[in-house]
Symmetry: C2
Subunit: 191 residues, 2 copies
């Protein structure tokens, strides 16, 4: 997606440890106009696939999921990273390792929001090692839902998550794939 | 807001400890069509107030903020509940006590996203004791921004947060105010 790649080049910042900061528009401050165009692009790719729900994980994924769900006319469900007192006992859980936060955490999702009749599109801001995505896929598997597709804003193509998901047969669309980055340059995969 | 009150009556569930569960449409599964109408209502109320940014706190607030920001044509900024390695050192911080999670937590917001020229609309799903809101207002105060208004989906009118904010002079709009609730009934304040 040209618009997203241009925005990454203009405002993204590379930090030590393969960190690509896009907090100006994607995951701290949010450019809702850009997110709307991202949602439109996901609809172009997955709009004919019978999607019944958009699934994501808090927190950054929620914005992308909402702006995508508008185009599909379906609800969003997001997995939570901490179990609150408010949540029912009836939840699916999975363990995720976060490289960003340097620790394992549980994700939870109320069972009542996914049924075997659902076909979900999973969306998120980043795909790198794919650990959060594995957690969401585990939840989908427990719920017996069909995964209709995976929509990612920025894939780090030099980390294994994307290749593994494609090898496993998922319909994965990453709107920008960064194949290489250092302090002075950033290369996108031709798509 | 009639539509929201009707939805709360239809799908909300009262739990011990003054908990009102609206996870079917507002903070776990998200009805984006309803959120869009909530955003439209906030625009009707605050649309002429010169708002430059929509401010909220992760996670549930993000969905409401995004669907509101579309109507205003301004960006969203959300405060984070945990400090990740990815965030710059240059952040505003405040301490918030969560009754839901039963503990204190830090909220952080990168300084670069708020300037004294900004006039923010703060939005969130719930207002009860107002602790999270106090944290956001503290951040606004540190940043020197003007708080143009506060937009809440559901206020628990029997808890002190709303009254305190009104007494402090804030333009506070709560789309549904629950003045009383128990297992068998739920009463909204006439507005």
């Amino acid at each position: 997606m040209k618009l997203l790649e241009e925005r990454i080049l203009r405002e993204g910042q590379v930090r030590p440890g393969n960190v690509l900061k896009v907090d100006c528009f994607l995951n701290h401050q949010l450019d809702v106009e850009l997110l709307d165009q991202i949602g439109q692009e996901f609809y172009r790719i997955f709009g004919q696939d019978g999607i019944t729900k958009i699934l994501t994980i808090e927190a950054s994924g929620i914005a992308i999921a909402c702006m995508t769900a508008r185009h599909f006319g379906v609800p969003v469900v997001f997995a939570k990273k901490a179990k609150s007192k408010n949540i029912d006992g009836e939840v699916y859980t999975s363990v995720v390792h976060s490289y960003t936060y340097g620790k394992d955490y549980n994700i939870t999702l109320a069972k009542k929001f996914l049924s075997p009749r659902d076909k979900v599109l999973i969306v998120d801001d980043f795909l790198a090692n794919g650990k959060a995505m594995r957690g969401l896929l585990d939840v989908c598997n427990q719920a017996g839902v069909t995964v209709g597709g995976i929509g990612i804003c920025i894939e780090k193509g030099f980390q294994p998550g994307g290749a593994e998901l494609r090898a496993a047969g998922y319909k994965l669309a990453s709107l920008a794939i960064v194949d290489h980055m250092d302090d002075t340059s950033l290369t996108f995969r031709q798509q």
